[in-house]
Amino acid sequence: MTGNLFSAGFANLPDYLGQHVLVSVCAILLGLLVSLPLAIAAYRLAWLRGPALAVASVVQTIPGLALLALFYPLLVIISAFTTDMFGFGFRALGFLPAVLALALYSMLPVLRNTIVGLTGLDPAIIRAARATGMTPWQSLWLVELPLAAPVIMAGIRTAAVWVIGTATLSTPIGQTSLGNYIFTGLQTENWVLVLFGCVAAAVLALVIDRLLALAETGLAVRSPARLWGALAGIAMVVGVSLFPLFGHAGDTVTVGTKSFDEQYILGSLIQKRLNAAGFASARRDGLGSTVAFHALTNGDIDISIDYTGTIWANEMKRTDQPGRTAVMVQMTAWLEKTYGIRVLSLGFENAYAVAMRRDRADALHIATLADLAAHAGGMTIGGDYEIFSRPEWRAVTAAYGFKFAKQRQYQSDFMYRAVASSDVDAITAFSSDGRIAEYDLKLLGDPKGAFPPYDTVVLISAKHAHDEKLLAALKPLSGAIDLKTMQQANLMVDREKDKRTPEETADWLAAQIKR
């Protein structure tokens, strides 16, 4: 089993590593392009030093993941603005926000070391440069920068290691990186995969660090051979890493998935069907729920897997609940009309539902959300990262007058464990999750119909909505998966014993559909 997991890890390595190196190198270069001139300006203009370093330090205090996440909405706004003003927009997801955020992250060490390196020079040397008839710029280029170069290089080295490490966090905003191993592994409780991602990123960071250290000593002892050797080594690492990326030619269909097991399995299933039909395909895994939908409407991804209720409440801003079929029909029409998106229903519902331990619910005589409301004041509710800020939850809270004592947020795997081990009293579970059965949880009824229905749908972007070849490849999935099959598939990935990868499970699921 572990062997399978490893081979799955290595299979993705060229893509993940290439993307990781690409985004890191671009971020470091962009960061240098900004921070080196800024540092030189701050060296010359003493008043600029404080503010420049302060801003860079503040940026450094923002957690890497938050900084990356903040760039997505920012770019969406800017893109909307440029579309209005100049008639062009750009992709707000993936590469661009990752590069910008990481570049910003790389600035502090370069800025600080460049300023320290330059201000720390012996004033006698600078006086000598002036006395020999150098202009201030000639003195900077010919004397001050070369002499400060080892210190500056040390800053670049720190920045490079930071960027390579932090780049693993660019996965949730849609940039493939070595972080894909970590995030997928975390979702599927596949610790081998998490470890694989960590080790790969650490090895990359160490190799680049050693090469830059060589460049640094090359500058310090003024050995051009060492300097050029180090730079050639870096060029080789970057070149070899980027090589697989050039293989992707032509039109690639990108499948985007949200960050939980079912999405990974279905994403893999769709990708396998596309590949079988002769499409070049790519994946953007672990996107946030709203991020995934906007990525689809922006054209950053071509296919996503979503749920009717999610779009009903979050995108259509509807609070009424006309019933499962009506929601599906109206949503399909709305998506078609508003975005030109094509909808393919898979046949099962993955609803938000509140779940409790069966023994606890029975002891308290709780069968429905209405029963739960009476006990909520003394209870802690656990949910995923999204639910408590979603309109559906506000609707449910209002309908039943919930006032829970405490709320806790979990990565969805840990959420089920938390309720099973009584860390929380109830959770907002997903009805297709295999762990409901595994942990013997009781799903509470929703007599007021406050939760909308959540039929699972495949969304196909406007660009491919009329691509007959693509539609034909996905058509067999329509209505082909029932709740029981999906629960079983989800459990295969989630369970501790005989754990399968999402790819293996997708193959199993494909076999079920054919039957």
């Binding site: 006698a124 008839g133 010919l142 070369p146 002499l147 051009p224 051979a225």
Partner: protein, 288 residues
Amino acid sequence: MTTIPRCSAWRIPPSRAANSSLGNRRRLAQKWGGMIELENLTKRYGDATPVVRDVSLRVDDGEFLVLIGESGSGKTTTLNMINRLAEPTGGRVLIDGADVRSGDPVTLRRQIGFVFQEIGLFPHMTVGENIAVTPRLLGWPEDGIAARVRELLSLVQLGSTDIANRLPAQLSGGQRQRVGVARALAARPKIMLMDEPFGALDALIRDELAADYRAIHDKLGLTTILVTHDMTEAFLLADRIAVMREGVLLQIATPKELAAAPANNFVRRMIEIPRRRAEKLAATMQNA
């Protein structure tokens, strides 16, 4: 001895050096001779007492002037105002009758040789590159520069070694200072300014180097102003000695005149130091 390969990245591209209104600067250089006049020169930082107060003196073309004083006497500041490493608060500096502040300071500095105490060579450049700095800034052709470097190395008596490709850190103190003199002379200046150039050297090397420089001064017909606090050195080198104290010029005279008629007690005490030393030394030698 290992040689370090020259790194072309650290050399000044001739194209960049050449595009700086060169012709104009050359013509200016030829116009100037070596006469230096200081007129009521004053330098003050903020509201404090001036570090240089109303100094006037004249150095003739070809003359060797030693500017002597204790530390804080304002001698280095005076020197710096001649090539505009410092700008005067009052008064002016004339070279061959022209105010140095009428032109561009960079142009001025390329025409005046400047030698520093100890450090002053660029540690990341080889000896050859250090000497070639000013000619490259002036846009001389590369073969001309190479010939000039060889010529200068033999002038400062380093011509017999392959020293041009070494870094300053690989040289002895005396060798470094000879390279410093060669670098200052590279662009054929008429004027040399020297700020305690031999101060950090061992006594033996120091006298040898001082004597060698005086020979170069005479051979090339330079005008030299040398700053020191060592009266013995001043007596050995100078055509005339200018004594400064607390920013004021106390006396300017030939060594002979200075010894015969010191202007005040301070000057007398200053010139008695070498005399007393010489007497003691002579007495010791006789007794031995």
